[in-house]
């Protein structure tokens, strides 16, 4: 048995990078997709509303693990052999997009209807209403649930280990397989997840305070 030592710690610390990268990809891709889905959900086109609702329902009803399998093994069967990072990024983007789409739809709809009417009466067109009146208020409402969900996403990136992507959790498993010191290893891994997620919560609270002051 190999002793749990500095080399292992460094190996695990380096894997933090991949958890962060995957999280960032998932947020960025998911945010773009989520915004499009949210706007489609509240659009005036029945087709767009139906399509986005169907997408959200379907993805929310599918375990992330299955999405990861589909993106990695499924697509490779079809001839698209994606690198684990790409496959995991894709699956997480689809997943995060569906959830953010639903969260943000709620936030957009939480802006009172009278704000639409008042801005309409001033002659703003629909784009201007979204850009200057509705979205700025929706963002304020959306901050806490969005950050809460981001924390979930960081933790959910651990599932990418099943397709062989060496992020924090997978690195912990690898080290544990050679050292058999699960307690030490996984406490370190847990502490590192906390170190990523905690600043997110702090930043969220700071942001909320700032948004509350600026109004």
């Amino acid at each position: 048995m190999i002793q749990f030592g500095p080399a292992h710690v460094i190996y695990i610390l380096e894997a933090v990078r991949w958890t962060v990268v995957l999280s960032l990809v998932a947020f960025a891709g998911g945010a773009v997709l989520g915004l499009l889905l949210a706007l489609a959900r509240v659009s005036r086109s029945i087709l767009l509303r139906a399509f986005s609702a169907a997408y959200i329902q379907t993805v929310q009803g599918t375990p992330l693990l299955i999405l990861l399998f589909l993106a990695y093994f499924g697509l490779s069967l079809l001839g698209y052999r994606l690198a684990p990072l790409v496959a995991a990024g894709l699956a997480l983007t689809l997943y995060v997009g569906a959830f953010l789409g639903e969260i943000w739809r709620g936030c957009i709809q939480a802006v009172p209807r009278t704000q639409w009417e008042a801005s309409d009466c001033l002659g703003l067109n629909r784009f201007q209403q979204y850009a200057y009146i509705i979205l700025p208020q929706a963002i304020r409402i959306a901050t806490p649930p969005t950050v809460g969900f981001m924390v979930q996403v960081v933790k959910n990136t651990s599932l990418a280990s099943v397709i062989g992507f060496v992020e924090l959790t997978r690195a912990g498993q690898i080290v544990n397989n050679s050292t058999f010191q699960p307690l030490m290893v996984f406490i370190l891994v847990a502490a590192l997840y906390f170190a990523i997620c905690y600043p997110l919560s702090v930043a969220s609270r700071a942001l909320e305070r700032k948004l509350n002051v600026a109004r």
Partner: protein
């Protein structure tokens, strides 16, 4: 002002009416909320629409501004036919301002930005020009010192005056007011009514739904009494109040509201 109570027309429609409402019928689902409403408003008129709660006053005002669709009839304001969700709304918006019971200021923007937003985005005014107009209208409603405040830092009466200023800044031909003092304490009501009275004296064409009977009697030159979705009785204020023609109106003013 044309008047249409149970089919009886008491006055000829005016040729120079800036607002023409003709035989408007409006349903909410099965509920007939406006039942053949017609009225005309001349430039410079101040028309008070009164009546019991649920008689269709707000709905009429909202239809006039295209916030609700109508099932029958026609509404023309300043030469623009009003259509719900229509794309030529910009023309209507340029000429008609509206103030709501709940102020509806934009909470995330300063008083100044509340006023300049449409000036710069819609009217394409320069920043300096928009700023100058904002100062002017805020001064007009007595709130020149609140330029940089946020709505929540103001009292209800102040917020409502900002809402009036915001609408006024776009220099509309006609202004619609829907129970703009109903959410206010009596002291705050006074300051808002004073602003509206000044506007009326300045010749603004105004249509207001109100429960302030004393104010309506004193300032409005035309009164419309609505009942069950119809214009039940309408005419010059003094005439109407001195000799009610229908028992419903007599009862309405008799109860002192």
């Amino acid at each position: 002002m044309a008047f249409d109570a149970n089919g009886a027309v008491l006055a000829e429609p005016q040729g120079d009416a800036v607002v023409k409402v003709r035989d408007v019928v409006k349903f909410f689902g099965q509920l007939k909320v406006l039942d053949g409403v017609s009225l005309d408003v001349k430039a410079g008129d101040m028309v008070a629409i009164i009546g019991r709660s649920g008689s269709g006053k707000s709905t009429l005002l909202r239809c006039m501004n295209g916030l609700e669709d109508i099932q029958e009839g026609k509404i023309v304001i300043c030469g623009h036919e009003v259509g719900y969700g229509q794309s030529n709304r910009a023309d209507l918006r340029r000429d008609v301002g509206m103030v709501f019971q709940s102020y509806n200021l934009f909470p995330h923007l300063t008083v100044q930005r509340n006023i300049t937003l449409a000036l710069t985005l819609v009217k394409k005014k320069s920043k300096a020009e928009a700023q100058r107009l904002a100062e002017q209208v805020l001064d007009q409603v007595g709130l020149a010192d609140k330029m940089l405040s946020y709505p929540e830092q103001l009292s209800g009466g102040q917020q409502q005056r900002v809402a009036i200023a915001r609408s006024l800044a776009l220099s509309p031909q006609v202004m619609l007011f829907d129970e703009v003092t109903s959410a206010l304490d009596p002291e705050l009501t006074v300051e808002v009514l004073r602003v509206m009275e000044d506007l009326a004296k300045g010749g603004m064409t105004m249509i207001l739904v109100t429960h302030e009977m004393a104010f309506a009697q004193r300032v409005a030159n035309q009164v419309v009494f609505m009942h069950k979705g119809k214009v039940w009785e309408a005419g010059p204020t003094r005439e109407l109040f001195s000799s009610p023609k229908t028992s419903e109106f007599a009862q309405f003013i008799g109860t002192g509201l």
